[in-house]
């Protein structure tokens, strides 16, 4: 190419620019992942980029109530520990919201009427008073704690069980696998017929497939919803079934499948097919024994496309599978959580990561086929 062999300033600029763009493009996903394994208390008070540094938390807590007081000499004392997280360290404390960081940990703070408060770095506190403590509520204590970074899989544990993501994961698999395989089978046969068999109306069918390639899904939704309701009623089953969504994904994926596979199969050398015909092989034999093995790369490309598309789809799942718990796929579940747990980032980030992990694995392991499919589908 035009890159010169000598290192010019321009080359460094290119390196720097690409690095910058790569960082911009990966940081959002990286942030999601880092957040999903952080402790949820830390996640909600500090940015994920501070995950490795000790975070400072300002917390208000109440001491134990006067009921727990004991008499020690002439003093009435209430003791306890403020910290639930044992590795945190208290640096400052106070007893008034006006000055929550008035005293360093370990010092003795004078309050009203000779009462004193002492908070140690490890969270132990002692409230002492010459007179008996009254009332039912404990004294408010303000403190600043330094919490070391903490990483945990708790968020994942929680979303997989309590938030129903485990179930959704299975549902997604149940939807995706047949919805990937069925269109391949159907499209491969059709593609072969359109590429190598002679019959009236072939050119028209090819044009129709190309035309249907861009028909917006939205056009189909309402009539199909009506049809599904009718069919469901007729057979006495619900209108939201796995079979229904498999067929829907098959129907919507077919134009691209036929188009991709037809282009590929039509490009196979005609000598092979002709000589097989001369040898008396029927089209079915040719398809099964010659075309299918030869078109493996194209089949793989489409399979990846369709897999990613079905796994990531939300619209079709919402319309044809509905919103009830037992049928919710991952994307649908994530959308529900976005509505109900909008501020709980520990739930959202972990759930989002679970929904994208499978496509990411497929993507990185089979990228070659995906690229090939993209090129076959659009570059001419």
């Amino acid at each position: 190419m035009i890159a010169s062999s000598k290192r010019s300033p321009l080359t460094y600029l290119v390196h720097a620019t690409v690095l910058f763009l790569v960082v911009i493009w990966t940081i959002p996903t990286a942030g999601l992942f880092v957040s999903s394994i952080r402790d949820k208390d830390q996640l909600s008070v500090s940015g994920w980029w501070t995950a490795l540094s000790t975070s400072e938390q300002r917390i208000v807590d109440r001491a134990n109530g006067p009921k727990t007081q004991t008499q020690e000499g002439d003093q009435f004392v209430i003791r306890g520990n403020l910290l639930t997280n044992s590795s945190a360290v208290i640096t400052q404390f106070g007893f008034s919201s006006l000055d929550p960081e008035a005293f360093a940990a370990g010092t003795l703070a004078e309050m009203r009427n000779g009462q004193t408060l002492q908070v140690m770095a490890n969270g132990d506190y002692a409230l002492a008073s010459p007179a008996q403590w009254k009332g039912s509520r404990g004294q408010r204590i303000f403190y600043t704690a330094e919490v070391p970074p903490r990483f945990t899989l708790d968020n994942y544990r929680e979303v997989l069980s309590a938030e129903g993501l485990g179930q959704s994961f299975l549902n997604s698999l149940t939807v995706t696998i047949p919805a990937t395989i069925i269109p391949i089978l159907v499209a491969a046969f059709a593609a072969y017929a359109l590429a190598w068999m002679r019959f009236p109306g072939r050119a028209l069918l090819v044009a129709a497939v190309v035309g249907l390639l861009v028909v917006p899904l939205q056009m189909s939704l309402i009539p199909l919803l009506k049809s599904y309701n009718l069919i469901g009623e007729f057979f006495g089953v619900g209108s939201k079934t796995y079979v229904g969504i498999w067929l829907a994904h098959t129907g919507f994926g077919l134009p691209l499948a036929i188009y991709l596979l037809r282009n590929y199969i039509a490009g196979l050398p005609s000598e092979i097919i002709e000589s097989a015909r001369v040898d008396g092989a029927s089209d079915f034999d040719i398809f099964r024994k010659i075309i299918l093995p030869l078109s493996f790369p194209a089949l793989a490309s489409f399979a990846i496309f369709q897999f990613l598309w079905v796994w990531n789809d939300l619209l079709i799942a919402m319309v044809f599978l509905g919103n009830n718990e037992e049928h919710l796929v991952l994307t649908g579940q994530l959308r529900e959580l976005l509505g109900s747990r909008g501020g709980n980032w520990e739930i959202l980030t972990a759930s989002a990561f679970i929904t994208i992990i499978v496509p990411l694995c497929v993507f990185f392991s089979l990228q070659r086929y995906l690229v090939r499919g993209l090129l076959a589908g659009s570059v001419k």
Binding site: G47, L247, S282, N312, V379
Partner: protein, 336 residues
């Protein structure tokens, strides 16, 4: 576990059903009209008959599915657009009258136009720039792979990722959203980005650009590699600099590919739905046609007439691209 087992069984049944159809129908055809043996005349006749029938055995399921899932619904949507909310009573053009009189429609239409202008342009531009640059450096493939990665992420997943970036904490609390943290770092005032009318559209568009740039990059990168070296060498000999070579030699040669990338993203943009649904659900002036259509499909038990009208607007916008595609495909077929 029970779920997994029943899922596996249904999966197997579905896939087996397909295989059984193709094998069964073809074997049946060979049984009814045997072509391997028998009197020559009969074989010739059977061969003719089975050659007429077999394409339709191959095509049958595909044609049926395409008709039921795409062709018939398009026709039925057009019909429904003239009917009332339940689809039973003919109401003439009143759905269209409603559509062109509603502010919500003009808001969605305006936003869709914004999306149509910004997203394909930005994605194609970034794709082209990144494709050009990554071809020149040794770690280009890794860079490409990482920029291509968002392609595998669902729109809804991407929405969560970006909603986290746009997250806003009011008061003096520490910002945990990256964008606001950066703004605060440079001394700015944190904002609740996705609720600022008009500009919030662009914050949603960034998500789709982030996803689609990789697609543009992969295709354009292949096209750039297809450019004959001689044309570039000739330009270098003539003393052209890098920028001139890029705009005057390389870009004109891949113009066709750029158009393909552009139209592909355009079609995707017209159907954009998940991102708006997840980020704002059309609030704060971010409504788009596809989300409006979905909304009407279910709002208050669903208004099929109005939903269908919105769908038809999307369809009309796609038709020019459809015609262009068909013409291109036909030209290719003739060239073969």
């Amino acid at each position: 576990m029970a779920q997994l087992a029943s899922a596996l069984v249904t999966m197997l049944l579905g896939v087996l059903g397909c295989a059984v159809y193709f094998y069964g129908s073809n074997i049946l055809l060979d049984k009814v009209f045997p072509t391997k043996s028998g009197p020559a005349q009969k074989v010739a006749r059977n061969l003719r008959i089975s050659n007429t029938i077999r394409p339709w055995l191959f095509l049958g399921p595909a044609v049926l599915l395409l008709t039921f899932y795409l062709f018939y619904p398009v026709i039925d949507s057009i019909r429904l657009s003239f009917f009332d909310r339940s689809g039973d009573e003919f109401v003439g053009i009143s759905n269209y009258v409603w559509l062109f009189g509603s502010d919500e429609f003009f808001e969605s239409f305006r936003n869709n136009m914004l999306w149509l202008i910004v997203v394909p342009t930005a994605a194609t531009f970034f794709g082209l720039v990144i494709a050009t640059m990554t071809d020149r450096i040794w770690w280009g493939n890794i860079a490409k792979s990482l920029i291509f990665m968002p392609m595998a992420i669902s729109f809804i997943g991407a929405s969560v990722i970006w909603k986290f970036i746009y997250d806003f904490r009011s008061g003096g609390d520490a910002q945990i959203g990256l964008l606001n943290a950066v703004v605060v770092f440079f001394g700015g005032e944190p904002q609740n980005w996705i609720t600022i009318p008009f500009w919030n559209n662009f914050f949603l568009m960034i998500i789709l650009i982030w996803i689609q740039t990789g697609f543009a990059m992969v295709i354009l990168s292949a096209a750039l590699r297809g450019i004959p070296d001689e044309t570039i060498e000739a330009a270098v000999l003539d003393g052209a600099n890098g920028v001139q070579i890029f705009f005057k030699i390389m870009v004109p040669q891949i113009w066709g590919t750029i158009a393909v990338v552009w139209t592909t993203i355009t079609i995707l943009v017209l159907k954009v739905f998940d991102i708006v649904l997840a980020m704002t659900n059309g609030q704060w002036d971010t409504q788009v046609l596809a989300n409006q259509m979905f909304d009407w499909m279910f709002r208050g038990g669903g208004d099929f007439g109005r939903g269908a009208v919105v769908a038809i607007v999307i369809m009309v916008l796609v038709i020019p691209i459809m015609i262009w595609n068909i013409k291109r495909a036909n030209a290719e077929m003739e060239g073969r």
